[in-house]
């Protein structure tokens, strides 16, 4: 008897990614318009079938690189498993959903049938993909607050005001530049490059350029409350 899990098309596992980027001042997600039924013309997340020889993260990275030319992911992490028996028509497919982040200075080439949409103004989406996008947005917003995840949205060098706009767009509310700088500096996440950006057309003091000190995700605030007793 043949092992069904080795037959392509029958294994019920797929990987999907909500790839987020701040574009034009808003947090946007990369969607792909389905050509065929079911859910023709609706918009879905990039991804595809999970192969037997790769783990889920390898798989989503490969599929994004192959299908939508997204190679410059600054961060990838698991969101959750979506496994409702009726989440897609036909045999049940278990989806491992991911959050992917792209720095705002890169504009990856994407196929003609894909487009960026603000996460707050999604078009008609396919299957349960809208829930995945919402989950991704929530995860990003939470982690911006207690990790160094900003590095995955920011370009290599940036001014504080540019960073302020990034954080404001991603969080959905205004953050003050002065507080942002101090919070990130206190945690040792920011360092000046020594360079400055040219002033705008109306003049003004040239802004200092900064970079993030690290490029892997780091939890900076492990506990909100109930911290361990001070050793002193």
């Amino acid at each position: 008897m043949q092992d069904p899990s080795s037959r392509p098309g029958l294994t019920g596992n797929e990987v999907l990614a909500a790839v987020l980027q701040v574009r034009d001042g808003s947090l946007q997600v990369l969607l792909w318009q389905r050509a065929q039924e079911p859910h023709a013309h609706r918009w879905s997340l990039p991804g595809g079938r999970l192969c037997d020889t790769e783990d889920v993260e390898t798989s989503i990275r490969r599929q994004l690189a192959e299908k939508v030319d997204v190679r410059k992911l600054a961060h990838v992490e698991q969101l959750a498993v979506f496994s409702a028996p009726d989440r897609v028509p036909g045999p049940r497919v278990v989806a491992s959903a991911f959050l992917g982040l792209i720095p705002c200075d890169v504009d990856p080439e994407v196929p003609a049938d894909t487009a960026w949409y603000p996460v707050d103004e999604l078009p008609a989406t396919a299957f349960d993909h809208e829930a995945i996008v919402q989950r991704a947005r929530g995860r990003l917003r939470a982690k911006l607050s207690y990790t160094n995840l900003g590095f995955a949205l920011a370009p290599p060098e940036f001014t504080i005001s540019a960073l302020r706009e990034l954080y404001s767009a991603a969080l959905g509310y205004g953050v003050a530049a002065t507080n942002l700088q101090r919070v990130l500096s206190r945690r040792g996440l920011l360092e000046p490059t020594g360079h400055t950006a040219p002033p705008g057309p109306a003049g003004g003091r040239p802004a200092a350029l900064f970079r993030f000190t690290g490029h892997g995700m780091l939890v900076t605030d492990p506990f909100a409350v109930l911290r361990p007793p001070s050793t002193a």
Copy 2:
């Protein structure tokens, strides 16, 4: 409890749970000793194959209820997908891992080949199950700090010192009773029942009994820093 990897030909999805409970003053996990190869005699997490007609959470709840008589789970949540191609011998099996919590006042009946182990003193574990237990412990510790998840470890009524011991055991460091009470009270998570517990044999003031006000998980501290601007 069946071993999915010993039954090739079935779909490559399983569900596993790290069921945690505070027992004897330490955070413990329910493990099941494997009888057969591979990894005979090693200890593994309860769980089993995912059926086509149920989602992963339904599945893990069913399997825990059926196989190890754990029906009194106060909280269940997804941890992550474990999907390395070589995580188990034979065809790859994708595992959806869960965290389960049991209040310390219930002692579920478990089969003879299962046992509770402190998460800090695990025996020889099977496959990648130790990593899952570590992930579960980390998740619990983090969420105790910014959610009301304590309700899932505590009995229906408790004294503040009993709650202090629960939190201390779960977090792995001492918390002060006075601060614990104030932190939880400030968030409106605790309410007095009006009753008191009898003093110990050596006397002492009788302790007031409290209960948690809600029994679904609630995020009480959405952001550690970068909070939205005050509306006032």
